[in-house]
Symmetry: C2
Subunit: 211 residues, 2 copies
């Protein structure tokens, strides 16, 4: 019995891992259940023991991917007393992930949420709603950091929510370029741009980030 | 003979128009030659008189779409003596296009180049190269405007190319949000953000834009 449970959960995990890989590499609509099952080493017939549909699997993949990314963000945001160095660490981690993907697969994979957002946004549905929630949460997480920075006098800002949204938009736009040009260095300007969006002088922000 | 030429070029045009609509509405990979032909009112067998493949049609669609958009940008950039009001007019035109799409189809269609970029960037190919060229040209067009603004003393900037790239990235990121949330007002902050990216005080830039 224990063995059987072990195998079952292992197959489910392998389907999740295979789908994450495939959805990162190619458009969601071009990936089928047969291919996901094949990459996971799971019989296609068994797929439906674990997930009702490709969409149900995708919802689980997105959920777990955001859970992991969110944990990483929160870990970074717990570091140090000043906010700007934490933001810099977050941007570095984002760029490092694209470099690692390129080293591993030959391609910058971009942001799975951004990729899927553009693909599924032409119609309503649970994936679109889930992606809206994730981007709202990303903006809220950045906003909480900016609130802290304003409170401590690190930065001065009127529209904190707007600034947080700009930073996430800038990040998505530059990740799009990194993917299109297969060039992670497109993200190099993320820090300087974000400091400009926050009205921070770059020289001062450099000092703050290395402090 | 004249009639026949007329019909032929009309069918080609209808295929281009139908493909532009479909590629704006749905992922490229989910749209087939049969569906494009059907929407264009062209026999599927005739499709291949005009285009060698779906990809060849897509290349022509992207080319014409960028030609039209580029003409609009150049028309806007010929207006007035000051650069910042031109940039503001460009952003307004971009937002207006998303509003018009939503009124017409119920959905913000986003940027076809950005949609396709995320979809086709997982492999090399002529579409990816064409999209790289288009984004490079967009950045160059903005850069030329910023150069003019620096020369006339409207703005002070060290990294003009980097600033132009940031503005296009910001635009793509906010258009992604507009599409994901089906909400053109996501673009409302594009002007203020861009001014911050250019290091222009918003009050001053408001005055410049309305001058």
């Amino acid at each position: 019995m224990l063995v059987r449970v072990g195998r079952t959960s292992d197959a489910r995990q392998r389907l999740l891992d295979a789908a994450l890989e495939l959805f990162s590499e190619r458009p969601y609509s071009s990936v089928g259940v047969a291919e996901i099952s094949s990459r996971a080493g799971v019989q296609k017939g068994s797929f439906y023991h674990f997930f009702l549909s490709k969409e149900a699997l995708a919802l689980a993949v997105i959920d777990r991917h955001w859970e992991a990314q969110c944990e990483e963000w929160l870990r970074i945001f717990r570091q140090g007393d000043a906010v700007l160095p934490r933001l810099r660490a977050l941007f570095r981690a984002t760029a490092d992930r694209q470099v690692a993907a390129q080293v591993g697969t030959g391609s910058v994979t971009g942001c799975m949420f951004g990729n899927l957002a553009l693909e599924v946004s032409s119609q309503d549905g649970p994936m679109r709603e889930q992606l809206q929630t994730i981007f709202d949460e990303q903006i809220s997480l950045i906003e909480a950091q900016l609130d802290e920075a304003v409170a401590s006098g690190e930065i001065a800002l009127e529209d904190v929510h707007g600034a947080a949204r700009s930073i996430v938009a800038q990040l998505e736009g530059l990740v799009l370029f990194a993917k299109l040009f297969n060039d992670p260095s497109q993200l190099d300007s993320l820090w300087a741009n974000s400091m400009r969006l926050l009205g921070v002088q770059t020289a001062a922000s450099e000092a703050a980030a290395s402090a």
